[in-house]
């Protein structure tokens, strides 16, 4: 007889912090690093791991639900080329999944990175990484801080560690973070199109937080449970329930995960122009049209719960703003069948919510660039976008599936080959059906000639190891024997 140990507690001190939750730190800097010398690079990596890398143990909340006084954080991830450069044995390297080994650029057709999103048109640091082995991005360092000056000083401290002789070369970096309200200097949780961001976080088993309905998986009786740990961390049972496919040795994989980094440029001028031009044709007006694209009003209120207006009470209550299903909205008369959030997390929209449970991703993104308020002059070329981070156990089954089948195809939602109105590579030919409402006799409306509101400007696939695995990589102890 076999027994199954319950996995209610995780080794928080072994798991990198950004996996567990978005830090309460509004400023980020993502640093792209090349390994030029294996031995000294591993020494530097050991120093970084012992003195800087932030684990999840800082996440023990106090009684008020606040994280305990974190001011700065550092996390690290590796590309496949990076693991090669650091000297992982071939017997371990060949055990990594194909998508990760190939890297994001080679998966461009599957991901819809064509036309203006083609890897040949990405930012220089990413193009160089794909074209020149001496400029390949091997390491991704993410600095998170409470303010910009701490970010600069912490970066300078780390840059000293990565000076000549460290085995590492900094290829470049990118800043991202929450926007600051120019009047109050407070940080705002919105993105460039004006939607509130960061509402739907995921809850999986073993997270040391209070449970919040709407964040895990929907059960047949309508209740919510945390998702299986193995959907987001290697070394634990997943939703199937099996062990997720993981590289060997076990200690290298356990408590680690995979991450898709995508620099997504937002064509803010095109987005606002489209809304302005199309909304007079749409009964319900501009804000409802913007809400129909996403499935939430711009303040975050879900259309399924509040189809007629924004609801500040609802949207500001974490126990309510994500706590809904499509049970009473199967025909999309509230949240359209092809709306962004319904594609990203269909909940019970495909009847069997189990189908959605295997396609979830943890999002840990921040916007970059300066927010241009509504009504002010804006160009598509302006620096606007999101540094999108998607964390999951399987890039193929989770991130890539969502990108291919749900962002760039609509058949699962009875939307033919319509793409996601916001993320889809629509190139001026996109179409979205906004289903009508038989109760109010609102007719269906079809949006046509949708441009690409978002273009990919860079990205790659990364492995986020545990602290144990980091030390093993640093000490050259990864062995499959």
């Amino acid at each position: 007889m076999t027994t199954q140990a319950s996995i209610e507690t995780l080794d928080l001190e072994d798991i990198q912090g950004l996996i567990m939750r978005t830090y309460p730190l509004p400023c980020a800097r993502y640093v792209y690093v090349h390994v030029n010398d294996n031995i000294s690079a591993r020494n530097t990596l050991e120093t970084l791991t012992n003195n800087h890398i932030t684990s999840s143990s800082v996440w023990q909340d106090d009684t008020k639900g606040n994280a305990n006084g974190i001011k700065q954080a550092l996390n690290i991830a590796f590309t496949f080329k990076g693991l090669m450069a650091l000297g992982l044995p071939a017997s371990s390297l060949i055990s990594f999944p194909t998508a990760f080994a190939e890297g994001m650029a080679k998966r461009k057709i599957l991901l819809g990175d064509e036309g203006d999103s083609d890897p040949g048109k990405w930012d220089k640091v990413w193009r160089d990484s794909n074209a020149d082995s001496k400029k390949a991005i091997h390491l991704w360092l993410a600095i998170f801080t409470a303010d910009e000056s701490t970010r600069d000083s912490y970066y300078n401290e780390l840059a000293k560690l990565m000076k000549t002789g460290s085995g590492l070369t900094v290829l470049g970096f990118e800043d991202a973070g929450l926007f600051k309200d120019p009047k109050t200097s407070k940080y705002l949780n919105i993105e460039h199109f004006g939607y509130r961001d960061g509402i739907s976080d995921i809850e999986f088993k073993g997270m040391p937080f209070q449970r919040i309905d709407g964040r895990g998986k929907l059960m047949p009786d309508g209740s919510w449970e945390p998702l299986a740990t193995g959907e987001f961390l290697l070394g634990y049972p997943d939703e199937s329930p099996e062990w997720p496919i993981a590289p060997i040795p076990h200690t290298l994989a356990r408590n680690g995960t995979f991450m898709a980094v995508r620099k997504l440029h937002q064509n803010v001028a095109s987005f606002r122009k489209y809304l302005d031009e199309q909304s007079p044709k749409f009964p319900g007006g501009k804000e409802l049209l913007a809400a129909k694209f996403v499935g939430r009003w711009r303040d975050g209120t879900p259309l399924t719960l509040s189809p007629d207006k924004e609801d500040p009470v609802l949207t500001n209550d974490a126990s309510l703003n994500n706590n809904f299903s499509y049970k009473n909205d199967m025909d999309g008369h509230r949240c359209p069948m092809g709306a962004h959030i319904r594609r990203m997390n269909p909940r019970d929209a495909m009847v069997f919510s189990k189908l959605a449970d295997r396609r979830r991703i943890l999002r840990r993104g921040f916007p970059y660039g300066t927010y241009t308020p509504e009504g002010q002059p804006v160009n598509d070329a302006d620096e606007h976008g999101i540094m999108f981070l998607a964390l999951n156990s399987s890039l193929e089954r989770q991130f890539e599936f969502v990108q291919q089948q749900w962002v760039h195809y609509g058949n699962d939602f009875f939307q033919g080959d319509d793409k996601d109105p916001l993320l889809g590579n629509n190139e001026g030919k996109g179409k979205m059906v906004i289903q009508g409402d038989s109760e109010t006799s609102r007719p269906p409306h079809i949006c046509t000639n949708l441009p690409s509101f978002v273009n990919t400007r860079g990205g790659d696939y990364f492995f986020i190891p545990s602290l144990t695995a980091l030390r093993q990589i640093a000490m050259g102890l990864v062995s499959t024997i």
Binding site: K281, K431, H445, I446, T448
Partner: protein, 228 residues
């Protein structure tokens, strides 16, 4: 101990032939032994058939819903201990679904003859270059010899699932075509506020649609009948 089931298959053959039909759709499956040392050449021939579109030789006879060829080498058992179920030959599998236009199970014989006649007339070169690699291929090739050859190597479809048992391939193409045209019309109609105008436009659209030819076999996409 091997048990010989051939008597069972002889008994059930008439039933199997009837089961090849679901609604008006017919499932033809052939299992042809490939002549010794011909499999490589056959694979090359098959690889060079244009992908399924209007250029495919299979698009030249409109009864076909879909068709596929497979070459089978041998049957490995995946597991331990590793086993191969070695076949005496390599085999060519041809499997297709075609329209008979009737739901009468008694006509399965004449349905198949009619389809093979269409195939024989539409792709005689390909019949030679494909099945010519198979054992017993009739030479010289005549229609009746080809029909006999197919029936000799036909295997029963058994429990045949048809995507569209009651619709012909042409009806399916027509439906997809009309769906696309109708979406185009709805998009255009969103901008018409005058009811009389909408009605007039719809009548015009219906007429244009009725007059528009169905796209040829192997194609779906075509230009819009809705005027910009």
């Amino acid at each position: 101990m091997a048990i010989n089931f051939s008597w069972f298959y002889k008994l059930t053959k008439p039933l199997n032939r009837i089961l090849n039909k679901n609604g008006q759709a017919y499932n033809l499956t052939m299992l042809n032994p490939i002549k010794k040392d011909h499999a490589d050449a056959l694979r090359t021939t098959l690889a060079k058939i244009p992908v399924v579109d209007v250029d495919s030789p299979l698009a030249n006879f409109p009864l076909t819903h879909f068709a596929r060829f497979n070459v089978i080498d041998s049957l490995p058992f995946v597991g331990a201990p590793a086993l191969y179920d070695h076949l005496q030959n390599q085999y060519l599998v041809f499997s297709c679904v075609f329209d008979t236009g009737n739901t009468n199970w008694r006509s399965v014989g004449s349905d198949l003859d009619a389809y093979l006649k269409q195939m024989f007339e539409a792709m005689p070169t390909e019949i030679n270059s494909i099945w010519g690699h198979c054992v017993d291929f009739p030479e010289p090739l005549t229609l009746s010899a080809f029909q006999d050859f197919v029936k000799k190597y036909q295997i029963g479809g058994g429990f045949f699932f048809a995507d569209y048992p009651n619709n012909t391939a042409e009806e399916a193409r027509r439906a997809l075509f009309e769906q696309k045209q109708f979406i185009d019309f709805v998009i255009k109609a969103q901008e018409i506020s005058d009811h009389a105008q909408l009605k007039a436009d719809f009548y015009q659209f219906s007429k244009n649609l009725a007059d528009a030819p169905t796209p040829p076999p192997g194609s779906i996409f075509t230009s819009s009948v809705v005027k910009e």
